[in-house]
């Protein structure tokens, strides 16, 4: 029996989040001296299966026509059945909407306990402990999960992938699910995709209230284009209607984990920091040397952004 199960969605493929999730699962399993099983729910392409094999001791493919489209009730029934059979000590999920929606319910059905938004998971005193930011990122809590299995969604995109190893075996599991007639998907819409998703982005340029209006965001977009970066914004800029809500990073927006997060005219409220805390390098341009954002930066420039963005865009355009 595995001690750790990592739950992945077939439709998502082996993206950065899936790799981070398997990496976290591998490290936890090794600390327990046990095995990692990857449970992949829904239709999945063969390349993703091969990638999952290099991280997990076993890949369990859960296929059923009811799992072709995401439906919380059907996915929950599938995960409950599989995890019930495998009886792991820990079940890890990623930080997508579906994982966040299912974690607590899965824990309840398995008789376990749950935590979310974990930046670390470890075993202490026989219990799984999840470390996470609380109070809008002002504090860190270590949550001890008293019931087994511990079901935890983690900030998978911020976690290192597992080193490649000998491929694990693959098992195909047919569950014969009963249709849940309570909820049905009747429509869906995917936003026009410009480049990679913000949560997957490795480079992000973000603007804040200090830009003063929607106009300067066009300048920032030119800078982002020169860097090959995605655009983001603070809550204040989104609330003001300067940029789409889908750009919002922070506690009430997206949680990102890029290699580089460039914050322009963002003061750095704790709610914003909570969304960017997993960035590898944070740097800022702000004319206020006391802006809280600088406490989180590796390097920064104290200047009026209006004087910097144009020449910086030109310089980085030369580098590109």
């Amino acid at each position: 029996m595995p001690d750790v199960v990592a739950c992945l969605w077939g439709r998502a493929g082996m993206d950065r989040a899936a790799q981070g999730l398997l990496g976290a699962g591998r490290r936890l399993a090794e600390s327990l001296g046990e095995k990692l099983h990857a449970v992949v729910v829904g239709p999945v392409d063969p390349a993703a299966v091969e990638a999952a094999r290099t991280a997990a001791d076993k890949v369990v493919l859960v296929e059923d026509e009811l799992l072709a489209e995401y439906n919380a009730e059907n996915y929950l029934a599938a995960l409950t059945a599989v995890c019930g059979q495998l009886a792991p000590r820990a079940v890890l999920l990623g930080n997508d909407v579906y994982s966040q929606e299912l974690t607590a319910r899965l824990a309840h059905r398995l008789g376990g306990s749950a935590a979310g938004d974990a930046v670390d998971v470890a075993i202490a005193d026989g219990q799984l402990r999840a470390t996470r930011g609380v109070y809008g990122g002002k504090a860190t809590a270590v949550i001890a999960l008293a019931k087994t299995p511990a079901v935890v969604w983690i900030r998978a995109r911020a976690m290192a992938p597992a080193p490649a190893r000998a491929p694990g075996e693959v098992e195909l599991l047919s569950l014969g699910l009963a249709q849940d007639s309570r909820v049905s998907l009747i429509s869906s819409h995917a936003d026009a995709k410009e480049g990679v998703r913000l949560e997957e982005a490795r480079l992000i340029v973000s603007g804040g209230r200090g830009l003063g209006g929607p106009g300067p965001f066009e300048q920032l977009q030119a800078l982002a284009a020169a860097m090959g970066a995605q655009m983001a914004a603070s809550r204040a800029a989104c609330d003001a209607g300067w940029v789409p809500a889908s750009w919002q990073v922070g506690q009430t927006g997206k949680k990102v984990a890029p290699e580089l997060y460039l914050a322009v005219a963002i003061s750095g409220a704790s709610q914003h920091i909570m969304g960017i805390a997993d960035s590898k390098v944070i740097c800022a341009i702000n004319r206020d040397p006391d802006a809280p954002i600088f406490k989180h930066c590796r390097f920064g420039l104290v200047e009026d952004y209006q004087k910097v963005i144009g020449p910086l865009t030109a310089k980085l355009g030369q580098h590109a």
Partner: protein
Amino acid sequence: MNIIVCIKQILDPEIPARDFRVDGAKRQAERGSANLVTNIFCENALETALQVRDAHGGKITVVTCGGVEAEEVLRKALALKADEAVLLESPIENPDPLFVARTLAAGIRKLEPFDVVLVGREAGDWGAGQTGGLLAEELSTPCIAFAESFAPGTEPGRLQVKRQTDNGWEGFESSTPLVITITNHDKNVPRIPKTRDVMQSYRKPLTKWPLAELGIDVDSNGGYSHIADLFVPVKETHCEFLSGDTLEAKVDALAERLAGIIRSI
């Protein structure tokens, strides 16, 4: 439509980081001079409920768990024209998520029948984001998370729910009763109560049910999870402020650093 909105009172999340302290022994934030406020996502949930009731009729009952100070968030909801308010009197300051869900479920069962229960997506203090899911399991209903709106469905006993996903939105139709977790959206920005309605809210009745009346055992708290540690993290990052004699030199320095990182990816 019979709508129940679960709301939570939290420490004002806008408190500046420099004023924020934790009580390590009690493993919770110190109140200090900070206000207690309604969790923002709960306000979004109440606003969503008000819009649906105003458009389609029905009744809104707001429910919270807590001590006497939690009456404030119920009064505010009444000032916003919620129809009824119920305080589930709990002496526990730091309840675990399952304890909260069981307490709310016990209170909600006493309020049956209901069509839909709304909760905030997560709370601005502990942010566990578990109440909706656990409540749905306790009440044996479906649950739709991260919704921005809902409306009557194609036939009685069904609701349509629009929810945000990682890259767009999804529309669901569900049978009732149903639990929905509400996220923030420009359509559910909380309204401000009128001063007159605030005054009147203090004359409206408030129902109070002690835990014993709900059949909830206080000792069951902590059996699901507990806080092993709580601390304010020490930021070890030391910001290197890029310098230069001229603006051009500063921009050059910044461009070099950024280009170096970009090249390394």
